[in-house]
């Protein structure tokens, strides 16, 4: 293992608790971007510097810097927002961003295309609505996820409270955020401190989710730390704890790999915050700070062994986790449409294509949802599948009318495969993207729909995930079918993930184009249709017929 600190570690260490030179960068009107070091620190404040890669070369020829803008990620713990908060986000998206909201696979909301001189007003507006952006990105605990499940809201309510408590407990304490964005008072020299993180925060990002079986919509096995709700007599009793999930890898670097989390025990519900703090602290102290590609918790565990990890955790907690309780996941997707909860209120899960809340001529999703949020008195829940639940609706008819009026109802008629499909943002804004993903998914999805229909599989809920690079933002390695970008128009094809999200898929073909991928899938679909076993999922079929037989 290398022993020199990575450059980002130095930037953090010298940043004075995430201040860096952000204030000076914001004031510099000669560039639309930030000073280099500040582009690292900005993530902790919840935003990334990006540029429109479609126009980068053209602007360079014109002697203009790249068309910089910023993606701001809004933390929404557990994905629950009030209608007022939703309306605020919609308004900010119109006044300061690119007239769209993007629902993420971590139940957060992203604003894209915010220019530097609007950053402060945007972040302020978000905070005014009692949401925030701090720690939405960066080497800290990110947005804490929680199954937004409506059917079991007795358990959900309590599980959500735990998720929110973990989120609050692990929020950075630096005053820099308030100072820079909210004109908070300056802290006198050296007064800032981070009781949990310390001055260099974590070696890498950290992801936590709370899952409520039988729903594994949060993809618990992709998380650094997972809490699987265990129910007893309709009440939440505690959580199975899973650790070491993470899907990022780099092409051609065998030391990097996706890893599914493993369940290491059980804790009572009221100890979850403590467990979370100690797992984070353990990773803070032992995580690799020399190589960012090897800095997630999964490598810390694999490098030292799971037994070491359990011992170390027990020592820090002062108690051992109990034996894990039995649990069963059945699905990961959202059930699009209306459902009644235990109190008899209606909940509507809306399919949001690619998570893009945007107005087009036919489908005015953004305006329609803003209108619904005015009429609605329950809450709005962002799902880990980038969909939106309008929860606790007393008047179903009124919402139904609005869905028709704004052309949203028509959007809901998509195949189960399309409902489950995920794609990361990729081109043109993501600096890491090697190939198209989000912009390409509708076209690819339509073609795969045709193939499925041809084999009589149109209603089969097969998970398809497309990623513009191997870093895994759309969690491709837990999909039954995944395409991971290598170069424009070229992908690696992965097959064999399990439907419940517990088993990773495997690479079956490298660097192939669409025609080749579709031909392969076409053959496989028809085989699957003819040879599948009773209740066998496509992922399981591919695992035994392709992965294990090769």
């Amino acid at each position: 293992m290398a022993t020199t600190e990575s450059p980002v570690e130095k930037i953090k260490a010298h940043s004075d608790y995430l201040r860096g030179t952000i204030v000076a960068s914001l004031a510099d009107a000669a560039s639309g971007g930030l000073a280099d070091d500040d582009t690292q620190l900005s993530k902790f404040h919840g935003f990334y510097q990006q540029d429109d890669r479609d126009v980068r070369a053209d602007r360079a020829r014109r002697k203009l810097e790249p068309a910089y803008s910023f993606m701001i990620r809004v933390r929404v713990p557990g994905g629950i927002a009030t209608p007022e908060q939703w309306r605020t986000l919609t308004e900010i998206a119109k006044s300061h961003a690119n007239h769209s909201l993007r629902l993420t696979t971590r139940q957060a909301v992203q604003l894209h295309g915010v220019i530097k001189r609007d950053l402060k007003a945007t972040i302020r507006g978000i905070n005014d609505s009692l949401l925030d952006t701090i720690a939405a990105c960066g080497d800290v605990n990110r947005n804490v996820m929680c199954s937004p499940l409506a059917e079991l809201s007795g358990v959900h309510e309590r599980a959500f409270e735990v998720a929110a408590a973990i989120s609050e407990h692990l929020t950075p304490r630096t005053r820099a955020y308030h100072e820079i964005w909210l004109d908070g008072d300056k802290v006198a020299g050296g007064a800032d401190q981070e009781p949990i993180y310390g001055s260099t925060y974590l070696p890498r990002k950290f992801k936590i989710a709370v899952a409520i079986p039988p729903q594994n919509d949060v993809d618990i096995f992709a998380q650094d730390l997972g809490f699987i709700a265990i129910e007893r007599r309709g009440e939440l009793s505690g959580f199975n704890v899973s650790v070491g999930g993470g899907l990022g890898m780099s092409h051609g670097e065998p030391d990097t790999y996706p890893r599914a989390a493993e369940v290491i025990g059980y804790c009572a519900a009221d100890r979850a915050v403590e467990v979370a703090e100690q797992v984070v602290a353990l990773q803070r102290d032992y995580g690799d700070r020399s190589n960012r590609k090897h800095a997630r918790l999964k490598y810390t565990i694999d490098d030292r062994g799971i037994d070491w990890f359990k011992r170390e955790l027990a020592a820090r907690l002062g108690f051992r986790l109990e034996e894990a309780r039995p649990f069963r996941f059945l699905r990961r997707g959202d059930s699009i449409g209306w459902v009644r909860d235990h109190r008899g209120a209606w909940n509507l899960t809306l399919f949001v294509p690619q998570g893009r809340v945007i107005d087009s001529d036919e489908h005015r999703l953004m305006s329609g949802l803003a209108e619904i949020s005015k009429a609605h008195c329950g809450d709005l829940r962002l799902t880990p599948n980038q969909n939106l639940i309008v929860a606790g609706i007393p008047d179903r008819a009124r919402i139904g009318t609005l869905l028709d009026e704004f052309g949203i109802a028509e959007l809901q008629a998509v195949s189960p495969m399309r409902q489950l499909a995920l794609a990361c943002v990729a081109l043109p804004t993501c600096p890491l993207a090697m190939a198209e993903a989000e912009r390409y998914l509708p076209e690819l999805g339509a073609k795969i729909d045709e193939l499925l229909a041809k084999s009589g599989l149109a209603d089969e809920p097969i998970s398809l995930r497309v990623s513009g690079c191997p870093n895994g933002c759309s969690r491709p390695y837990l999909a039954e079918i995944a395409l991971v970008g290598k170069a424009p128009g070229r992908y690696n094809l992965f097959l064999g993930g399990s439907a419940d999200g517990r088993r990773l898929n495997s690479l079956v073909e490298e660097n192939i184009d669409e025609a080749r991928a579709l031909a392969r899938l076409d053959r496989l679909f028809s085989e699957f249709a003819n040879r599948r076993r009773e209740a066998e999922t496509f992922g399981d079929y591919a695992q035994r017929s392709v992965v294990e037989s090769s």
Binding site: A29, A30, S31, G32, V55, D58, R59, A60, R61, R62, K63, L64, E65, A67, I115, R117
Partner: protein
Amino acid sequence: MTSPHAALPIPEAGILELRETVRGFDREQLLWSSGYLAGLANAAEAPRGAVASATTPDPDAWTILYATETGNSRRIAESLAQRASESNVKAKLEDLTNVRPRLLSRLERAVFVVATHGLGDPPEGTEAFFEFWHRDDAPRLEGLEYSVLALGDSSYADFCEIGRRLDTRLTELGATRIAARVDCDVDFDDDADRWSSAVLDRARRDSDIAAPARTVLRAVPSAVSRSHPFASRLLANQRITGPGSSKDVRHIELDLASSGLRYLPGDSLGVIPENPPALVDAVLKATGIDGGTTVRLDDDSVPLAEALRAHREITALSRPLVDKLAARRPAVSAILDDRDRLRELFRMHQVIDLLSEWPARWGAQELVDALRKLPPRLYSIASSPDANPDEAHLTVAVVEYERFGRLHWGAASNFLAAGGHAIPVYVEANEQFRLPADPDTPIVMIGAGTGIAPYRAFVEHRREHGHRGDNWLIFGDRNFASDFLYQLEWLRYRKEGTLARIDVAFSRDGSEKVYVQHRIVEQARRLHDWLERGAHLYVCGDAERMAGDVNDALLRVLEQEAGLSPERSIERLAELKAGGRYRRDVY
């Protein structure tokens, strides 16, 4: 009678030494040396009080006074001085920016070469002279013999205004006109020559004592000139405003290899354009004349279309065309009698508008005669010759707009942007706009739009030569995202430390319009500090509004930060100007 040498600023021994030093220099070395010396002269900050001629003028000598903005008046005056000296006529050259107004009272023989700038204004730095002599209490000038050559641009309503008013005023004050005033348009060579000859004839008759010809060390003109331009090749033609911009600004690179052309940062490149073919067609259509009709141009006979394309100005309006049209259209005649409407006419209309709005029966020859010669266009050079040997770069706003339902074009900008042909060019020196001679002197460069061009040359040059003086750019345009000209280069210079600071003002980005003058006031303290450190200020770009607004902002800085009274601020700025520390290149 004193010898003409006595008037030289260097003692004879010094002249001999100078000759010794340059003995054996070839033509190019001599040329370079003259430029080098000129640069030294230009940079030397004349001490206050010494700017005005202190010696008693020789009453027999002819004093040639010039007021120049672009350098044309100075060149004509220099050429007249040279011819006078060759004819053994004693003559002394004076720049009106350097003389006290009252000097005139002590002269018996004065000839003026006077340019009119912008909207009827005197050239930069000569305002005080004209104000003094137009005052009601101006002294009488009974003993003075004089003549005026007026330079101007007949595409402005106040054509040659300053020269004309001076001529009238001197007569009013009792002076005697010894040769009729001549008003020159942008194509001034022949008219200036005619006037110079008339003046010299008169001077020779006066001068009965033959004095030895004086030797003047002066720049030998390059073989390439306005009348013999170099056919340069277009090396690059890149739009540098973004796709969403309201303006099409090009970065043009021209190949000067083998031209023998030399320039310094601050100089301009004269471009001899051809008119856009579509405009030629529009003029032919508006007049109904066949483009094949032969017309006479000086000694040549060419088809009308060719004359309109390459020899006559058909974009900007000029006075003869208006006069011709006024003779047959009373509506136009009425405009001529109304100063405001006339100004408006010149401001808003081009040749095609006049021909279309007041159609008349034009003969081909008559039309050509009513149009002035196609003048060259000057562009501030945007490159350092040392950073880009054998090249000159230009920053060109392509002018194309619709008005009165018709398309209008800028001749030279479209000629450059169209490409695909040789570009005839020459160098027009601009001694008024030079880098400080001291490489450690800080500079503040204030500019809007394509006014950024000479600053690119300045910074490239200082970087190339490792000059250590701090450089500060204050730039304004419309939109940050698309109109920050050469943004990548400026940011690179700032990162590497060549540029100490960049301030920008984009007028159309926010709800409030912000211009460079606002940044100057915001940075008043810093700007004052820089001035205290000896910084030179430069202003380049729009003359109509920016130059004045920036001037006001600078006055405010002096009032606010130096605690000067408004009057004293004005004086202080004038001192900076006189000391060569506040220079403007506005158009």
